[in-house]
Amino acid sequence: MFAEWLYFGLAALSVLGAIGLILFRHPMNGAMSFVVTLISLAGMYALLSAKLMFAVQLIVYAGAIMSLIVFIIMFLNIQESDLPEEKGRGLYLVGGVVVIAPIAMFLYKIVRTLPGGDTAIVGNGFGEVRNVGMILFKSWLLPFEIISVLLLVALIGAVVVAGKREVGK
């Protein structure tokens, strides 16, 4: 019961955050409302007993990526006067609604036809660090390694590129 209320609260928060991201004019407000969305998504993962996903969502998305974005917004000090003026917003809105309406109807139909059913926790340590690690390193070892090498290359590349200027001196 409590979990259900928590779920509805988190769902409402994440949708509100997403709406805020689009509607706020100031980039900092948009970024912060997106952070709200990311945190409430992390809460949903926790409700689904996916602990590792919960932690990763917080560390990577809410913690690292969004703080970089907020950092850059602060660094460039973007004010509302720097943003381009948007004329004919209403026209775009109408056009957008016309384009999206069929897809929305389709989605609505899909959601309507979803079978209702009780959810239960799978058990056996589902979503825990050890089990996710086992799956990742046994069934998906090669893709995982390729991605990690890619990230490592990016990391070292950033250091090398940043260090080059000094060599020129």
Binding site: I59, G63, S67, M74
Partner: protein, 428 residues
Amino acid sequence: MSQLDILLVLLRVAFGAFVPLCFIAALVWLERRGAAFFQDRAGPNRCNIFGFRAAGLVQNLADAVKLIFKEDVIPGHSRHKFYFVLAPLIVFVCALVSFAVVPFADALVIEGKQYLMQGIPMDLGILWFLAITGFAVYGIILAGWSSHNKYGVLGGLRASAQVISYEIPMGLALVSLLAVYGTVNLGEMVHFQGRLLFGFIPMWGVVLQPLGAIIFIVAAFAETNRTPFDLAEGESEIVAGFHIEYSSMKFALFFMGEYVAMFVSSSLIVTLFFGGYQIPWLATETLVANARPVALLLLVVIPIAAALFSGWIRKNNKSHYDRPKDPRVFEAKVYIGLIWMMVIVLEAVLAGYWLYAAGGAADRILVVLLQIATFLVKTFMMCFVYVWVRWTLPRFRYDQLQKLGWKMLLPLALLNIFITSAVVVALS
């Protein structure tokens, strides 16, 4: 849930919330008196209530009163007042919540039920800490940016760039540690450190991972924005950095947040590298099996320690010039009386345990209390290292700081991972 369950939940949450808060007072005192000690002066020791100075602890009360009654200024030119108010809250709450997963004693077993001794009994461990400290950056960024002040923005930029870049060596140092321990759960890590290497060296993280320990400790210093990495608030260049526009309790929240963060990161360093709550050479089971001799030892040791301590107080707490009816001698007498009263209470409790309650659950509780004391002593010592470093080393220049992070610590941490994983694979 039985009554015992509810009681233990309350106790653990209270410990997780109030111990960091109490440590703020202790650490502010430690910082001031420590600074004075390193600079060969006395430090704040005059503030008193009816002549009782409590070694300078009363100064904290005076500071708190000052901060509460100051005018709370919100700059009129700031257009983002919501973020301005939110920022100190984020910093303080993040620091406090990140302590929730640090185990302060071994699991308490009562009537066959296990109670994990941490604020939130969750097995995410170190991941939780990384997640929460990632959020503290928002507080700093928002504070610097919403103050709408050049120094504030500069301080915010410096602080966030520093925290973001030091998170990488910290995370990599943790990776090699995780390879050694084979778990992310802090409780299991401390269990691992209770064993002995070659039969006589405690298997602490600092013994198994000396390089990782150094990298982690340096990165932890940078994460808490303390000297030698405190150029986010470098007084001599950008006045106070990100909290320049803050006054009254909003400033106090930043201030307290800094000390809570210092406490939490020292407790984490202790948990990861210095055996956590483990008493060296005495694992939990040994202690439980020998609870009676341990209690007897305490019965003997506590009065001796109290006698030495009160002798030290009597020797040092007196005026250094002739005064009629020296009030400090009277003060010392009261302190000594209080100490002996505490000793009597402790002795009574221990004697009661010895006579009536020994065996069963009481043994476990005694061991848990001992381990909590060990944990707090170790953490306090690590906090002293923070103070020690702060008043010994000068501040880094900004480019030196980034160079240290990216060009020294990062490659070292990567090297450490390779060596560690090779050794772990070879041994297993």
